[in-house]
Assembly symmetry: C2
Homo-oligomer: 534 residues x 2
């Protein structure tokens, strides 16, 4: 009896063991099937897609009319993009004192002078390496030139096609418009996806369905074109943001178009709340950085509270011996001593939870002219991302510091940065407001856009335009001169146009003795070789 | 004599006064000419450009083959983008305890349940308003569908054209390939720029040069085509990031293509320094957030220092009573009490000055398996922006928390977010590494990319996947299971698969009782209506 009992126990154990194994096996199979274990070199596929386009460009459309003469126009030559760029200074035409103040001339800075000559070769080589990696990560087949062949019987989409990774899309607009013939055939080829039919049409033969290269043929042209209305492209090689090249061909003709493959970028929206008017406390956070100037900071806070008692004020503080800064809706952040100007700015904006952020310096004073509602209105009713105001000095001089900026391609030596006083145009409906590329350090901006650009914490001391340079192509920048904040600092210098902090920062770009740290950063980080400014 | 002296003084004053006026006048003229005072409604021009394309789409290429029948394929229908989206739960097929643990089924969450029914209508209406503004700011004519007409004598560029704001570009690839006729003519129209000739060719008549609509004609086709090699487009209506539509036509045929108008986005590069190997201290900053756990934090720091004595560690601290955390290369930031998890994360990354940032929780412990060099190698040699590692619990269970994420278009009700365990594919050359869309909270990433996505400070308590949802379309995410950090917290729960913090965050998506704050944010901020996850 004992033996039978022992065997029964053993059998039970065996049974339980096999059930557990079965269960584990089932779990493993379930999870294994859920993931695609294929090993892929996505980069190869991307390169292959781009190479196809580049080859095609070299072959197909470069017409040769070299025998026909032309007359170059002098004016055009200068304005076209050249194969390198130059930073040219204006000659000093009026040699009188203060000439530059009245008639600002363009001066140039050579950025490689920020490096010791012995180090420069290494810096340049590492910069080129980082730059090539950056270009590789940010370019796709969607950026390459494609030229449509004339007199081609092919109809196809040339832009606007997009598919999410690993998903499918119906390709619109495919058709063949040949003259009558006995057999009509087309083929489609891709590098990062496959083709399928969403529906089938009689009289059409399809070969290689579900592959990267399919061919369709039919004796009836209308049947073939009906079938072409049901072609789907399914991305099979995952990439979060790239493009595939589709080649669409028939006897003697070839067309190419790209399909963007990318995750849909989700919006980052803010709820303005149910108020009918602009609720400044719900929409705006005031951000500032302070260093050693608690008295000025308190003056700023007191002046804000006269007009906006419940707006949140975020203070980034890198003073050596910090004092508490308290009060309702005050958020005081303590940084390690001396971390710096842009580190403090980046910290402050990183904490904002409202749709807009207003940047102020800690020595500003709000007055009845500091109507934040006006700035909110511009941002709500236009596509601007950032709108600057005006800063009034003690003397009455009011500055908006409007500048335009552009970067000119320069090749391996680096690009050319051009900074000019001025703006692009006045904004219709807002006669006090203009569009520019850089403005003064008193501005309201969309929190998400300002954070996307960011204030580079590598800039420890005076810096200003770096933010707007980093923002090129991302920020739509404006400036309204009817929203005014007062600047509490003493007059520096004897001219009516007193030297303020702003002017000092500005001066960095006029005079060649600019900070080495800033220039070294422009050189490496932004791949620049020189700056012109006026 | 006195009178003559007085008159001389008066004359001098008058002279000085007129000289000053002249000078001021000259200065004013100089500065006035520097700025373009035109008042522009840029939005109207953009809309006009986009409308042209939409009209053209409606007219030109929609072929009608409605009389030809087709057979829909069942499999295709599901995978194509639908006109709305659905969040469908898997039915509970196996009704045994712990079934969900072994065979995770898909569960769904309805996000509008985060709002009180009385508030929902207002929330939904404001969300739609914000969403429409967002779409308006982020779309351009370059996103619209264009279909190339077949059998057209026009040759033209279909993609790849780009010009900086207010600058010029030569348009490549324009040509006319008509059959012989007595007169050949073409015309070009734009909305945000003008056309010019970089060079002129004999026998070609050009009208309206320097305008938004030019016409060219010639009796000699080769002369016309030679002239077409010298057409330039100059953007005249400033916008930092948009596209113009160019219509290129001849008798009976019309083509359309877009030219992107945008500032060149400057790169943001980091100098890795002259070392031949990976210099972790120069390349990587470790970032963490702490709250009340100074002992665990010190254990973390001590463990890091065993292997990386000079790597900078940034600590964001929102404890109520903060203690100093000191040591070489330690940066301790004090936040207002309880600002929260993602506010702390956003603060920490805002302070990084190296190319890469490594995120760690304050209760991790570095071991000899925590080889940061491996993560750096993956980021240096692939296009990944972020690579997660593995976190080993006390029990030995090691988690990588790999998930794939996608967003399906849903229309006005909002979109559908789908989260699944798993990954996309293994990375060639890195057999321990895969590509996914979300990973565990132990990862190294490119500082610039992580800051561009950001950690939303509106998320105060537990949150994790929100960062990866915000990163969709921006971050290329990977995961390597051979870089392991230990998790110092106690075992929670009895299963070998113990409930860690990670699992708790994960649980939020499995069980409908998820945080209202998180769901409300998904609903409004990301324009979602529901979430499915397994």
């Amino acid at each position: 009896m004992f033996l039978r009992g022992a065997m029964r126990v053993q059998r039970k154990k065996a049974l339980v063991a096999s059930m557990i194994s079965l269960l584990l096996g089932a779990v493993l199979v379930y999870h294994w099937k859920a993931s695609d274990s294929s090993v892929l070199n996505v980069q190869q596929r991307l390169d292959s897609a781009m190479e196809k386009l580049i080859e095609r460009n070299a072959r197909h459309w470069e017409n040769s009319y070299d025998d026909i003469p032309y007359h170059l126009k002098q004016t055009s030559v200068g304005s076209l993009a050249r194969n390198g760029c130059m930073c040219e200074e204006d000659p000093q035409s009026i040699k009188v004192p203060l000439a530059d103040l009245f008639f600002p001339r363009v001066s140039a800075q050579d950025l490689k002078l920020a490096f010791r000559p012995s180090k420069l070769a290494g810096v340049k080589q590492r910069r080129q390496q980082e730059y090539n990696d950056f270009r590789r990560r940010s370019q796709s087949a969607a950026d390459l030139l494609i030229v449509a062949e004339p007199n081609s019987p092919l109809q196809y989409p040339t832009q606007g096609l997009e598919v999410q990774p690993k998903r499918s899309v119906l390709i619109p607009g495919l058709a063949l418009k040949h003259k009558p013939r006995s057999l009509y055939s087309v083929n489609l080829t891709a590098s990062m996806g496959i083709f399928n039919m969403a529906a089938t049409v009689n009289e059409v033969q399809v070969s290689n369905e579900g592959k990267m290269h399919i061919a369709l043929s039919s004796r009836a042209l209308s049947a073939l074109n009906r079938q072409l209305q049901f072609i789907t492209y399914t991305n099979t090689i995952f990439h979060p943001n790239t493009a595939d090249v589709v080649q669409f061909g028939t006897d003697g003709f070839q067309a190419a178009f790209t399909i963007k493959i990318r995750h849909e970028i989700p919006p980052k929206l803010y709820d303005p709340g149910p108020s009918a008017e602009y609720n400044i406390s719900a929409l705006v956070t005031i951000a500032t950085k302070t260093f050693l100037r608690y008295d000025k900071l308190q003056d700023l806070i007191d002046s804000i509270r006269l007009f906006y008692p419940t707006v949140t004020i975020i203070i980034a503080d890198d003073s050596e011996h910090t004092k508490p800064v308290t009060g309702p809706y005050i958020e005081h952040y303590i940084m390690p001593f001396g971390k710096g100007w842009f580190a403090g700015r980046n910290l402050a904006i990183s904490q904002v939870t409202t749709k807009y952020v207003l940047w102020v310096d800690d020595d500003f004073i709000f007055t009845s002219n500091t109507r934040l509602e006006k700035m909110v209105e511009v941002l709500e009713r236009t596509t601007l991302d950032l709108v600057g105001g005006a800063v009034r000095e003690v003397t009455g001089y009011t500055a908006t510091y409007r500048h335009t900026i552009s970067i000119e391609d320069g090749g391996e030596e680096g690009d050319c940065l051009h900074i000019r006083r001025g703006f692009h145009h006045i904004i219709e409906g807002f006669p006090n407001c203009v569009v520019a590329d850089a403005v003064i350090n008193f501005f309201m901006a969309r929190t998400e856009k300002v954070r996307q650009v960011g204030f580079d914490p590598r800039l420890v001391r005076v810096a200003h335009l770096e933010f707007f340079v980093d923002g090129l192509g991302s920020l739509h920048v404006g400036s309204c001169d009817d929203v005014i904040v007062n600047h509490a600092s003493k007059i520096k210098g004897m001219l009516p146009w007193g030297q303020s902090e702003t002017d000092k920062a500005y001066s960095k770009f006029r005079y060649p003795a600019a900070s080495n740290i800033q220039n070294a950063l422009f050189y490496f980080k932004n791949h620049l070789k020189c700056i012109t400014s006026n």
